[in-house]
C-alpha cells in the first residue's frame, strides 16, 4: 500500500502535524526557517482554495456545465508547496492537473474551466503568467520546458551574480508520463546541456487504472540518474517538504547546478477524471488509508498546535463559499466562442485555405437567413 517504505523520503511535517528537520536534511530545512506564520497560513488557505475549486468544478461537470473535470484532490500539498518554491522569474510547464500550482501563480481559474467547458484549448498568456498551457499529450511539455531552459542558459540568465536576473524552469508531470520517451529524452537533453530545470513528478500512484509498478521497476526519483539527473523523493502530502525541496533545487538550478528530479509521493484521492470509475480497479481501503493522510488535515493539525484558532478556519471556509459562488456565476456566464475562433491562430500569417473555408462557412451560415 505504501511504496517501498525503505526508500528515503524527505518529510518535515508528520501526519500528526509535527515539524521535524532531521540533521541529514538540514540543507532543505534552512528554507523552513525563512517561513513566517503568514506563509503557513497562505499555504493552508491556498490548499483549501484548491480543494474547494476542485469540488466546485466536479459539481459543475456533474451538472453538465463542464465537459470534463480533472480532480487534483489529495495532491494539494505537492502543488501548493512546489508552486511557492518557484521564483518570480521562473517558468512553469504544467501537465493538466496542476490547478494548485496555477493558484500559486495567480492564474485566473475561470480560464481553466473555460478549457474544460470547451470554450477554448487553454488560451492564457504563457509569457505573461510564466505558467504555460496545460499539456494533454503526456510528457510533451517536459521537452518544451527543457528547450526553454536551454534557451535561458543561452541567454546567460543562469548564475548571473544578480539573483533578480536569474531564472529557472520547472516541469510537472505524473508517474504515468515517466513511461513516455519524451520524459527520458528531456532528462537527457537537460543533463547534457546542464539546463536550469527541475523535473517535478507527482507520483499519485495511479495512471488512470494502472499502478506505478506498471510504469517503472525502479523508484521514480532514481529514473533520472542514468541520464545524469539526480533525484530526491519527498512526501508529497507534506507541503513543507514540497516547498523547501522545490525552492532549494530551483535556487540551485538558477545558480547553474543543472537539472534535478523531484518525486513527490502522493495519492490521487479522486478519479483520474470525471469520466473514470476507480471503483473498477482499486480498493476503497486503500483510498481510506490515504484519506487519513490528507495533506490539508496534516497542515491544519500543525496550525492548531501552533495556536491558530477556529476563526482562521472559519474565514477559510467562508472564503471558499464565496469563491464557489463566484466560480458558478462566472461559469454560467461563459459565452460560446464565436465561429471565427475555429479559424483564428491556426497560422500567424495569411493562409488561403483557411481564409477560403472561413468565408465559405460564413456564407453557408448566412444562407439560412438567421432562421437556424
Amino acid at each position: 500500500m505504501t511504496i517501498d517504505a525503505e526508500s528515503p523520503l524527505v518529510q518535515f511535517l508528520s501526519p500528526d502535524g509535527e515539524v521535524r528537520v532531521p540533521a541529514n536534511l538540514a540543507q532543505y530545512g534552512e528554507y523552513l526557517r525563512e517561513l513566517t506564520e503568514q506563509d503557513y497560513l497562505k499555504f493552508y488557505r491556498d490548499m483549501a482554495r484548491c480543494r474547494r475549486f476542485d469540488n466546485e468544478a466536479n459539481a459543475l461537470q456533474r451538472q453538465g456545465q463542464l465537459g470534463l473535470w480533472i480532480p487534483a484532490i489529495g495532491q494539494e500539498a505537492a502543488q501548493i508547496g512546489s508552486g511557492y518554491g518557484v521564483g518570480a522569474n521562473d517558468h512553469i510547464f504544467p501537465s493538466y492537473r496542476e490547478h494548485g500550482v496555477a493558484i500559486t501563480h495567480d492564474i485566473d481559474l475561470i480560464s481553466i474551466l473555460k478549457m474544460l467547458r470547451g470554450v477554448n484549448h487553454g488560451g492564457w498568456n504563457p509569457d505573461e503568467t510564466r505558467f504555460h498551457l496545460y499539456a494533454i499529450v503526456l510528457g510533451t511539455q517536459v521537452l518544451h520546458a527543457t528547450g526553454y531552459a536551454m534557451g535561458v542558459k543561452f541567454d546567460g540568465k543562469v548564475a548571473t551574480g544578480n539573483k533578480a536576473d536569474d531564472l529557472a524552469v520547472i516541469s510537472y508531470f505524473g508517474d504515468g508520463a515517466t513511461a513516455e520517451g519524451d520524459v527520458s529524452e528531456a532528462f537527457l537533453f537537460a543533463a547534457i546541456n546542464q539546463s536550469p530545470i527541475v523535473f517535478f513528478c507527482q507520483n499519485n500512484q495511479w495512471a488512470i487504472s494502472s499502478r506505478t509498478d506498471a510504469q517503472t521497476k525502479v523508484p521514480l526519483y532514481q529514473r533520472g540518474e542514468g541520464f545524469g539527473v539526480p533525484g530526491t523523493r519527498i512526501d508529497g502530502n507534506d507541503v513543507l517538504a514540497a516547498y523547501a525541496v522545490t525552492k532549494k533545487h530551483m535556487d540551485d538550478a538558477r545558480e547553474g547546478a543543472g537539472p534535478h528530479l523531484i518525486e513527490a509521493l502522493t495519492y490521487r484521492i479522486g478519479a483520474h477524471t470525471t469520466s473514470d470509475d476507480p471503483t473498477k480497479y482499486r480498493d476503497e481501503a486503500e483510498v481510506e488509508y490515504w484519506k487519513a493522510r490528507d495533506p490539508l488535515d496534516r497542515l491544519e493539525k500543525f496550525l492548531r498546535r501552533n495556536g491558530i484558532g477556529q476563526d482562521f478556519f472559519d474565514d477559510v471556509a467562508h472564503a471558499g463559499e464565496e469563491m464557489s459562488r463566484e466560480i458558478r456565476e462566472a461559469t454560467f456566464a461563459l459565452q460560446n466562442p464565436p465561429v471565427e475562433n475555429m479559424f483564428k491562430h491556426v497560422y500567424s500569417q495569411q493562409h488561403p485555405l483557411i481564409d477560403e473555408q472561413m468565408a465559405w462557412l460564413e456564407n453557408y451560415e448566412a444562407s439560412f437567413g438567421g432562421d437556424e
Binding site: L143, L188, N341
Partner: protein, 327 residues
Amino acid sequence: MNNIVEMPIAKAINAGLREALKNDPKTLIFGEDVAELGGVFRVTEGLHKEFGQQRVFNSPIAESGIVGTAIGLAMRGYRPVVEIQFDGFIFPAFDQITTQLAKLQNRSEGFLTMPVVIRVPYGGGIGAVEHHSESPEAYFAHTPGLRVVSPSNSNDAYWMIQQAIESTDPVLFFEPKRRYWQKGPVNLDGAPAHLHAAAVLRAGTHVTIATYGPMVPVALQAAEIAAAEGNSIEVIDIRSMSPIDFATIVESVKKTGRLVVAAEASTFVSVSSEIAARVAELAFYHLEAPVIRVGGFDVPYPAAKLEELFLPDADRILEAVDRVLAY
C-alpha cells in the same frame, strides 16, 4: 544589378542558413551531426566553425527531443532550424510536430508563435538502405498549422530557406537529396518569389505537368522529349505543398485543358491527390481529360535495386501525357 553565383543546391541552402544566422542572433541550428561534420550531406558545413557551439550544435540522436526542445526554444524567443537526418527518421518526432508544434499557436489563441524550421532531406534515387529514400510530405501537408515547402533549384533553395526561417509559423522544409549537387544560378540580390507561390518553369499549351522537389528536372526532361514529338508541355513547380498555389495551376489548366501531377511519394492520399481533386473542382469545365497522377507505387519504398522502377521517370510522365492527350 544582379549578383548571380553558380552553386549546387546543398551550398545554396548552406548560404541561406549563413545569412539567417548572420541576420538574426536568435537563429539556431541543431540536429544530429550538424556541427563539426556539417551534417551527413554537409549542408551545414562550416557554420559551426563560423558561428560557434551556441548557435550551431549537435543534439542527441533523439528526434522527438530535437523537435520538442526546438518548441521550448521558440517559446523562449529563438528561431530554431533543426535537421532531421533522413526522411525516414522523422517519425519519432511525429507527435511533437503534429500534436504540439502545429497546434501551440492555436492552443494559445495567438499568444505563442512557433517559428521553427524542420529541414528534411527527402526522396529516393541515391541507392540507399531502407528509411533513407522516403517522401513523407503528405503527412505534414495534411496537418493544419504547418507549412510545407520544397525547393527544386539553387535559387529557390537559397531564398526559400531564409523565408522559412523568417516565417512565424512552423515550416517543414523538404530538401531533394538526390539533387543536392545539382548546380544552378543563385541571384543573391534578386527579389525572391513568395514562399508559397508556384512557378511556371516552362510555358506550353497542350498539357500541364505540376510537380515539385526532386521530380522537377524529370518533368522538364519529359517536356523536352515531348516537344520533339510536337507536344507543348507547361511545367509548374508548385514549390509549396501546404498551402498550394492552386491559382497558378488552374490558370495553366484553363489554357491546356490537361493536367498530369508528378511526385515521388506513394500516390494514394498524396499531395498529388489533393491537386487532382481541387483542380477537378476549380477547373471542371476547362478540363479535356481526367487529371492523372504519376507517382511512387503504394508499397514500402523498395530495396535500392528496384528503386528505378518505383520512381517515376520521364517515360512514365510521358505515358501519362499520352493518356491525357488521347481524350
